[in-house]
Each structure stands twice: as structure tokens, then as C-alpha cells.
Amino acid sequence: MIVVSDIHKSFDDNHVLKGISTEFHKGKINMIIGRSGSGKTVFLKSMLGLHTVDQGNILFDDRDITAMDYREKKELHKEMGMVFQGGALFDSMSIEENVMFPLNMFSSLSVAEKRERVNTVLARVNLENVNHLLPAEVSGGMQKRVAIARAIVMSPKYLFCDEPNSGLDPNTAIVIDNLIQEITEEYDITTIINTHDMNSVMEIGENINLIKEGLLVWRGNKDEILHTDNPDVDDFVFSSRLFKKIREKS
């Protein structure tokens, strides 16, 4: 479980996060949603320790990342997996080398054991016979699946996904959403997805956090989001005709 209390973050005079407090639960799909520029990426990067916050605490199972020194943060990072918006796969390495990289760095497994583990996670994300291809040689959806495989290869306790569906067609996006949901339940991990894709939210969102102008303005699940009278949710979610119609019918 991750507990965030009163997080503030500014860049020079730009006050991006203005006191966000929330919780992200284990074994659930936790989502951070909001418009572009609302501060959700800064929020995610602050949780990851990539940005130093100005004020507040972020507790990973009672361990405060904001109070950690470089070495402690490094150890906590080994319990995290991250799926980046663009995949962030290492261009010069094959898919197998990409997925094996964390094992090479931090495990004492033999080459055969590492290869077996890589094949297991690649099979888990429905990828086979692609081990020796370079990231540039596979499709965007496959790259996302490789990124997921790399994120889970060390069996993390926390999985972060930044816009995992960006640039994907709706069918592939649903495949990725369902894959993340299955992995979350199967590994019983705390998953946090940063997105503005409402299809994803309605598909898998269990704990949805809406951020607007650096503030948490609403929190609930995918059923509650359709029936709330919160004006900010109304403004964000029902700005499209499709979702207006869904609400009318529900």
C-alpha cells in the first residue's frame, strides 16, 4: 500500500502539486487521471522519487521515500517496476537482453535460470519467439508488452505505468489493460496507472484519483465515476459525447 500525504512540488514559480493526499491499495488497479498539464506525471515521478518533493510524505508500506537518502531510495527502487509511456526499452539490446537486464544487475541466477525466467515473463505477456529481435523491430503494442515483462521480471511489489496505452489502437489498448489487471491480481502488487484514456478507466479502474491543477479533486471507482455529480469529473469525463450517452443510458 502507498499512502501519500500533503504533497507539494514547485518548479521555480510554478506550483505544480498543491497538497495531494491519497492512498493506493495492494492488489488493485489504482489510477491517476487528469487533463494534460494537470500535474499527474509530476505526481507519478514524485512518488517514484525521480522528483524531490517540497513538502509532504509518500509511504511505501510505512517507508517514507521523501526521507530516504540515495542508497535507501535505490534499494526501494528494486521493489518497483515501471512501464514508461514510450516503453523506454534499451535500443541497443535485444528483447531478451532488455528483459534480462534487471536480473543481470541484481540477481545471482545462472544464465540458464535467467533465460528461463525471461521466457516465463515473456510468455506471461503473450510474447514468444521474439527474444532476439531489437525493440525497433517489433510493433508498439509488443514494445509495451516487453516493457511490462521487464517491469515484472524481478517480481516487484509496486508497478507504475505511465500512459501505457498511448499510441495504441483500441483493441491493443484493451489487451494491455487486461494484462496489467491480470498481473496485478496474480502477483498481488500495488499498481498505479497514470492515464487520460477513459476507456482504460472504465475497463479496469478500481481506485480512480482525478487530479486538476495540482489538486486531488475526486476519488472513487469506475462505477461511482458515472454517477457522481462532482463538476470536475463532469468536466473531464463527460466532455465526450460517447460518455455523455453512456451516463444517460446507465
Partner: protein, 234 residues
């Protein structure tokens, strides 16, 4: 950043793999261009010396080899070749690391718990500091050969005189001086581009800007250090 670069590697085996890769990428891949430039540089230095000495009956032909050797060892090989490597190697380091930054590959390393600065930069710095002295020795040899070859081709001086010149009153300390400069220059031409690449923000345009900036700053630093080291060591 340097304090993070010069920490103990997360895994020595991975460091060794990266180090060997960088020796090939930054060092061995430069052998061709260094040899080519050095041969012609040596030839031009010898021709210019011959041109300046042609009207002086007091200066024998072997003096061309002597003066060419001193110029090549003391200045041309360590400084000019390092400047060329600052362009070739520097822009490559800066754009590689900069692209990794803008495509979030460095963030990915950090989140895995890898010391990204150490993993990406230390092998480059150590590989250049290890291999560049070999490149400079090669450059000196190629430069001296170039001087001899042009004399033989133009028949302006005899190879035997040239060889006498390059072996006369040879001071090994001059090579030590050249190698000390080379090692320090190798640190400059890898660390400055690595810094600019590591702190690149933005997109492809910013990667290009970082690359240009890194070459300019490392060249300026190299020229200033050249003066300082010469003052200190000679």
C-alpha cells in the same frame, strides 16, 4: 554528478562488459581516422619545416626529423588528436546519453535501482583514459612515418637523415608528458559530453544542442588545460 559516477559499480561483471564495449566504440573505432590524420599531419609538419629551413645552409637535413619529432610528440599528437576525438567521441557520447535521457531510458535505469550515472558514464571515462594513450602512441608513430614518407616521395630529404633526426637526443620524458596530457584530455572529452547528455531536457533538438555544446566546451577546456599542463610539466 561526478560523485555518483565514481561510486563502486552495482555489478563488476556488467561494468567489465560495458568497459570492453566502450573500448571498442570509443577507442578501436577511432584507429582508422587517427592513423589517417596523423600520417598527413606528420607529412605536412615535415614539409613546413623543410620549407622554413631550405635557405639556411647551417641547418642539416636530419634536423627536419628532429624538429618534426618534437612537434609531433609534444603537441600535434596529444593535442590535435584529442581535439579531433573531442568532436568524434564527444558528440557520440553526448547524443547517446541525451537520447537515452529524452526517451526515459535513464529514468528506467534509476527506477530499476541502477546507478545510471555510474553505469553509463564510468565505463566511457575509464575506457577513454585507458585506450587513448594507445591511440596517441599510434598517432606519434604514424606522424613520424608520414614525415619520412613525404621526404622519400618528394626526394626533399633522405629517409636515412630523417631517421637520424627522429632518433637524435631522444628524451623519453617528452612521451611521458604527451601521455599525461592524453589521459587528462581523455577525461575531459568524455566527462563534459557525458554531463551535457545526462542533463539534456526536451527532445531531439535539445539532444543536438547538447551535442554541439559539449564539443565546444570540451574543446575550449582542452585548449586551456593544454596551456596549464605545459606550464606545469615542462
Amino acid at each position: 554528478m561526478l560523485s555518483r559516477v565514481f561510486r563502486r559499480p552495482d555489478k563488476w561483471k556488467m561494468f567489465r562488459i560495458e568497459f570492453i564495449r566502450e573500448v571498442f566504440d570509443l577507442g578501436i573505432s577511432s584507429v582508422g581516422i587517427v592513423t589517417f590524420i596523423s600520417i598527413f599531419m606528420g607529412a605536412v609538419v615535415a614539409l613546413q619545416l623543410a620549407y622554413n629551413m631550405q635557405d639556411s645552409p647551417l641547418l642539416p637535413d636530419w634536423y627536419i626529423g628532429y624538429a618534426a619529432r618534437e612537434s609531433i610528440i609534444l603537441e600535434f599528437s596529444p593535442t590535435i588528436i584529442s581535439l579531433i576525438l573531442a568532436g568524434k567521441v564527444g558528440s557520440s557520447i553526448s547524443s547517446n546519453i541525451g537520447t537515452m535521457r529524452t526517451t526515459e531510458q535513464i529514468d528506467a535505469l534509476d527506477i530499476m535501482g541502477v546507478n545510471s550515472a555510474n553505469f553509463l558514464i564510468l565505463p566511457k571515462i575509464t575506457a577513454a583514459m585507458f585506450f587513448n594513450p594507445f591511440l596517441i602512441v599510434l598517432s606519434i608513430a604514424a606522424g613520424l612515418f608520414g614525415g619520412m614518407a613525404v621526404g622519400w616521395l618528394t626526394e626533399l630529404w633522405a629517409p636515412i637523415d630523417y631517421i637520424r633526426g627522429i632518433t637524435d637526443e631522444f628524451r623519453p620524458y617528452n612521451v611521458t608528458y604527451a601521455l599525461i596530457k592524453t589521459v587528462i584530455f581523455a577525461f575531459v572529452i568524455t566527462s563534459i559530453p557525458a554531463y551535457h547528455g545526462y542533463y539534456t531536457r526536451g527532445g531531439a533538438l535539445d539532444v543536438g544542442r547538447s551535442s554541439t555544446k559539449s564539443v565546444v566546451y570540451s574543446s575550449i577546456t582542452l585548449i586551456a588545460l593544454n596551456y596549464l599542463l605545459t606550464q606545469l610539466l615542462l
